[in-house]
Structures are given as structure tokens and as C-alpha cells.
Amino acid sequence: MRQLIILVAFLWVVAGCNSKRTYFEIKGKILHAKGNKLSLKQLTIGIQNPVLLDTALIAKDGSFDLKTFMPYGQDLYVLSIDNGPDIYLVNDEASVTLNLDIDHYKEYTVVGSPASIQLHSFLDAYTPNYKLLVDKVSLYDSIQKTEASDDDVLIHQKEKDAALKATNEILTKHIQESSSPALRSYLLAKSFSTLDKASISKWIGVSKQQFKGYSPIDFLEKIIKQQLKAELPPYALLNKQAPQFSSDDMYGKPFDLDSTRGKYVLLNFWASWNTASRDDNPNLSKAYRLYKDRNLTVLGVSLDSNVHACKLAVDNDNLYWRNICDTKEWKSPIVNKYKVTTLPFNVLLDTTGKIIAANLKGRDLTMKLNEVLPR
């Protein structure tokens, strides 16, 4: 073990990372341990794998003492107890005292390290909330696949959203309150699980200002930038006025989008030859059946080259609403105006003709209709 420590220390010296403190000591008592081995790892977000720094044994009376080189600045440490829990600590002070009873390990106490104490109170609040969130998400997930009504699913959706909000509030509260860069970077890494990308990016930006040059935060910034870059841009016409068009429907009757003002309109782009559209049609029929009496109009825009094929599919799939088929396929001006690139594709217009949602699939479609349509 000594060799490893010397090697690690040597590397840091070479890298030019000096520090005023040279040792980090963790001591205290661990009662009722199932094994007597302890190992201490350094967990530097963004620089390396966890590095094993030292191992020690717990004495018969439960006491232990670990002393290790603490080569540079503040960092996160994991104390692993053989056959027991991992305890996360921060070296914001040179000496930290940990007292823990394996039988009630969550109630461990730390003396001498404000950041470790903060970290402990974060985990106390966050862990049960996160578990609740996972339960709520699982429940919502299974319910929305059943025949349950949208109203019933909504109850579960709200519970899920509330649990997510509570978890994120705990995260952001602790991010704000954490004055230690090691703790901050740990919390920021955690936030990748539940926080939206924009918020993660914002908090990383704030933290970068606050802890200039702290490399774990730079690493996380790199990752969030990659994630933001990989994100699909939102539909360009979202929250904009729907482009006007008029065209004959497939029976030759004229249709004008302006005539639908005052109604919610679901505009669905599809084609008889596109299997994904055909697979989606039962869901669309269901949405129509459930919500046609709540001020909703559905209009299909078919990209078929042949009206007959379109009519056959309309009959076969029970599409009881009006359909336009201008036989121009992807060159249709309507398809162009609405920037359609995949099939099926839909947009939802409110009573003023504004596009309030796009590309709604499966249960999300009926949930959205249930949410916005007047009862």
C-alpha cells in the first residue's frame, strides 16, 4: 500500500499540484462492524478512477485511524467498510472524526468537517425522496400502458411530477448552500439524474464562477455541453401561429384552416404506405373518440400519391375525420409549411390557431388533449 501512496504522491508533485496541508486524517469509532477492514478511496470527478489511498483495520474497541497524503486541494473521499456501507467525506479540514454504528449507520456523526456534515444531511434528505420518485415513475409508467382513463393517469402523473420537483428542490437547495467545491461537484454530478439540462448547465455556470479553476466542475461542464449539443432542437413552429392553408379534401370538398378558428385542431400528417402511421392510427382513433366532443377537430393530411389508396386506408383504419390528399407526397405545400420531416407527425392548434404542441405520441397525445381541452 505504501508504494501506491508514494507513487500517487509522486505523480501529483510532478503535476505541480502543491498543497499547504500534506496529510488527511480520518479517525473515530465504528461499532458492530461485520468485518474489520477499511479502505479509503479518493473520488475525483473528472480526473481519474477512484484511487485507493489506504487500508486500515478497525480495532477491537471499534476505533480506527487512517492517515493519508492529501496532495491537492479539496476532494471527495469514500470510506468503505468491509461488509458495510460506504461513507462519503470531504477533506475540508485536515482531521475528521467519524462515529458510526453499523446497526444504524445512516445516523453517523462527523466532527471537524462542515462539508462532510452537509453532505450527510443532503443524503438524508435526498435518498428517500429519490426512492419515492423512482416508485412514482414506475407506477406512472405501468399505469399509462393500461386501459386506465387519462384522468386516472393524470393523478399518477401529478404525483410523479411532485416527487420530481421535491427531489430537484433538495438538490438545488444543497447546491446553493454548499460552500465546498468538492461537495459542490458531487452534487452537480448527482443533478444529472433528475434535473433538466438547462438547469444543470446554469448551476454549473454559477459554480464555475464561484470555484474558479476547480477541474471537476470543468469536467461536468464539458459533459453538459455535449448533452445540450446532442439534444434535438424543439419544433421550429412551436408556440407560433399555424401557417394558413386551404385545399380540397379527398372527396373534393374545399377546406380552409381559418374556418376552424374557435376550435382546437389536431393536424395529423400520415400516409397509407407508411407502417408507422398505420400503427399509430388506432391511437389516433381512440383520441378522436374520447375528445371529439370537447371542441376538437381532427384533420388528416395524407402524403399518398393516390387518393384511392388513401381512401382505402381511411376506411380500413376507421379514420372518421376529414382528410386532405393533394397527391403531391413530400412536395405538398402543406407538408412544407409545417416543416414535416418524419411520419406520422402531428401538431395541436389552440382556438386562436397557435401551435401549442407537436409530435405527440401514444398516451402523451390523449393526456395533452385531456389537459388542454375544455370540459
Binding site: L43, T44, I45, G46, I47, Q48, N49, P50, V78, T127, Y130, K131, L133, V134, D135, V137, S138, D141, S142, Y186, A189, K190, F192, S193, T194, L195, D196, K197, P216, F219, L220, K222, I223, Q226, Q227
Partner: protein, 377 residues
């Protein structure tokens, strides 16, 4: 760090299996019509049943990227479709997994994304799609936890991934719960039986394996996957710590039969390995060390290799300087000895006391030395 999304992996394609005769029911003929647009025309594509009975089927990619497989099955069986080259690389990530079942099955896929193929046709495949879907949304709804972990790993940073370990385990647990519920709710399904076998052969949880089996309809219990699950349960029971190690006799390098019973009276490490298994070869120096330290203290080792190629086996024994008794039925993953002990991954070992009772399992690295120290001081 436990694997994130291991459930997804268990659903993936496994190219090894044991021989087992399947009963004649729910059988019939199938036709697979596939299309891989970016495949090279003239290239060979393989369809291999999980039972590994008979030769794998091959087809040739046509000019428009299409291919066809036709055949008959006794009952729905999981199969993988892959390019021969992908066996060398990571075959598990490069194969289309589907059920062969009566009727027409269509596949559309991209060559570098065979795992994400769209499969249509048949009730088993429909349910398989549902299961694949179940393993997805939870992670993605949690705003990309699994993506972040992957990216942390990709950036060569297990430390950051470790910070999300707790979350990953919570998600995996929830997912396994949902899958277990699916199995319970589908007692007459071949797909659910397949899932039950895959989930339980990698977890050594006897209770969960037994409750899944007991809940199955009799017709499914006697199906291929039902029997496979039963074999896992039997092996778990017969190799649980505290039970007597099941007897076997296997030939050594010279072709002499060696029986497990002949080692009675000594502590014995029963070690499963293979020359082609990287982690086994890495572990070997540690086993050599244990042998050197304890061979004079009423301890010895019996290594069972899952090799198929005798020469490779012999070469590895020489290279790694394994000086104790070496046996192999040369059955590879189909080795009956490995099946007897439900060996699903190697290296894997069991420690037997002088009476032949199993006293410890899967001792690696320092743990092996420590355990022997404690027992043989």
C-alpha cells in the same frame, strides 16, 4: 459498480446454451423476411437458435438488402441474427434478438444498429417488444440518467459515474420489479418464460427463481425455457453453500477419468475456467499463489475447463503454470459439468471441505487467500 441496465443486457443475445430436447407443441413453420438497407449485397447473415440444436441457418443478403430465413420449430425459441464478423467483435451488441415462432416475421434494421431492429409478427415478438420498451422509459424519463452514466464512463471517469451509483441501483431495482411483475402476469407466455430464465440465471436468488417457476402454467413449465429455469433452480439448490457438492467424473489431459469423490479428505477448490476467458487468465496467478501457499496444508485444487479445443487448453495450462489436476469434458459452454453447477460466467469457483460439502463460493483475489488462511491455519 453494478452494471446499469443489466436487464437490457440479459435480454440481449446469448450465443451459448445447453442441449435440451423440446417438446412438440405450439410449433410450426416460420418465415423471416428481413431488410438491412445498408448491408453489403452477397454478404452472409446467420440465424442461430438459442437451443443450438443443429447448425445455424445462413442466408445471403440480396441486392436490395433483403434476406429470408425459413424453418420449423417445435415451440417458440429465442434466436439471434447476426453477421459472421460480429462473432469476433462483441456479438452480443451486434445481433438482432427475436423469437422464432409460427407465421411471418418481418425485420428492418441498420447494419451498425442490429440491436435496435424493428421486429414484427407473432405474439412472442410482440411481447418481447413490450418488454424491451419496459426496460427503456424509466431511465429516459428520469432525464437521461443512463445517458449521463454512459458519458461519464466514455470520458473515462468512473468517479463521476460512482456518484450516480445509488440512483442507478434504485432504477435497476424498480425495473427488475416491473419485469418480475410481467413474468407473474403472463404465466402462459413463452416470452415471459424466456425472460424468467434470463433474469434468474444471472442472479443467484433461489426464491425469485422458484416463485417464477411455480407461477408458470404447466405447459410453460415443460417448455424449453421452463425446463432451463428448472435446471437453474436445481443447480442452485444442489450447489448452495452447506450442501454436498454434486458428484461428477471427467477426463484429465491424458484421458484418465478423474472423479470428484477421489478428493475427499482434503479441502478442495473446484475452479471453473477456460483458456479463452481473459478474466480467468488474469485470475490464474492468484490461484497459483494460493496453491503454492496451501498445498501442504491439506488443500488442493481441481480445475474444470470450459474449453472445446484441447490444444488451446493444454497450452494455457503450460503458460499459466497450473500444476494441479486439470479436467475438461471439452464441451465449452455446453459442458455438462458446468451445467451441473449452474456456471453462467467464469471464472467461478467453489470451496469444498474434506467431506465434500460446499463451504464457500466465488472466491477471488485476496478473498481466496483470506478464506484459506482462516480455514487452514
Amino acid at each position: 459498480m453494478r452494471h446499469v441496465g443489466r436487464t437490457i443486457l440479459t435480454l440481449a443475445v446469448f450465443l451459448f446454451s445447453c442441449k435440451q430436447k423440446s417438446s412438440a407443441k405450439s410449433g410450426g413453420s416460420y418465415t423471416i423476411s428481413g431488410k438491412i438497407e445498408d448491408a453489403v449485397p452477397g454478404e452472409i447473415i446467420i440465424c442461430r437458435q438459442q437451443t443450438m440444436e443443429g447448425k445455424p441457418d445462413t442466408a445471403i443478403i440480396a441486392k436490395d438488402g433483403t434476406f429470408t430465413f425459413k424453418g420449423t420449430i417445435d415451440e417458440p425459441i429465442f434466436a439471434s441474427i447476426y453477421f459472421p464478423t460480429s462473432v469476433v467483435e462483441s456479438a452480443r451488441q451486434q445481433a438482432i434478438g427475436l423469437f422464432l415462432e409460427t407465421g411471418d416475421i418481418t425485420i428492418t434494421a441498420k447494419k451498425d444498429k442490429l440491436m435496435e431492429a424493428t421486429i414484427k409478427g407473432g405474439v412472442c415478438n410482440k411481447e418481447l417488444n413490450e418488454i424491451m420498451e419496459m426496460t427503456k422509459p424509466l431511465g429516459s424519463r428520469m432525464i437521461g440518467l443512463s445517458d449521463s452514466i454512459k458519458q461519464f464512463y466514455a470520458a473515462n471517469n468512473t468517479a463521476a459515474a460512482t456518484a450516480l451509483q445509488q440512483e442507478a441501483i434504485a432504477l435497476e431495482t424498480a425495473q427488475n420489479k416491473a419485469l418480475a411483475k410481467h413474468i407473474k402476469d403472463h404465466p402462459k407466455s413463452y416470452t415471459a418464460a424466456y425472460l424468467a430464465f434470463q433474469m434468474n440465471s444471472y442472479e443467484t436468488n433461489l426464491d425469485s427463481a422458484e416463485s417464477a417457476f411455480v407461477n408458470m402454467d404447466a405447459s410453460i413449465q415443460s417448455s424449453y425455457y421452463g425446463k432451463k429455469l428448472k435446471a437453474v433452480i436445481d443447480a442452485l439448490k444442489s450447489t448452495a453453500i452447506g450442501t454436498m457438492a454434486p458428484a461428477f467424473t471427467v477426463n484429465d489431459l491424458q484421458g484418465h477419468p478423474i472423479s470428484l469423490a477421489s478428493f475427499k479428505g482434503k479441502y478442495l477448490l473446484l475452479d471453473f475456467w477456460a483458456s479463452w476467458c481473459g478474466p480467468c487468465r488474469q485470475e490464474n496467478p492468484n490461484v497459483v499463489k494460493a496453491y503454492a501457499l496451501f498445498k501442504n496444508k491439506n488443500f488442493t485444487i481441481l480445475s474444470v475447463s470450459l474449453d472445446e479445443d484441447k490444444a488451446a487448453w493444454q497450452q494455457a495450462i503450460e503458460n499459466d503454470k497450473l500444476s494441479w489436476t486439470q479436467v475438461s469434458d471439452l464441451g465449452g459452454w455446453k459442458s455438462p459439468t458446468a451445467a451441473l453447477y449452474n456456471i453462467q460466467s467464469i471464472p467461478s469457483n467453489l470451496l469444498l471441505d474434506p467431506t465434500g460439502k460446499i463451504v464457500a463460493k466465488d472466491l477471488r483475489g485476496e478473498d481466496l487467500i483470506n478464506e484459506l488462511n482462516a480455514r487452514l491455519k
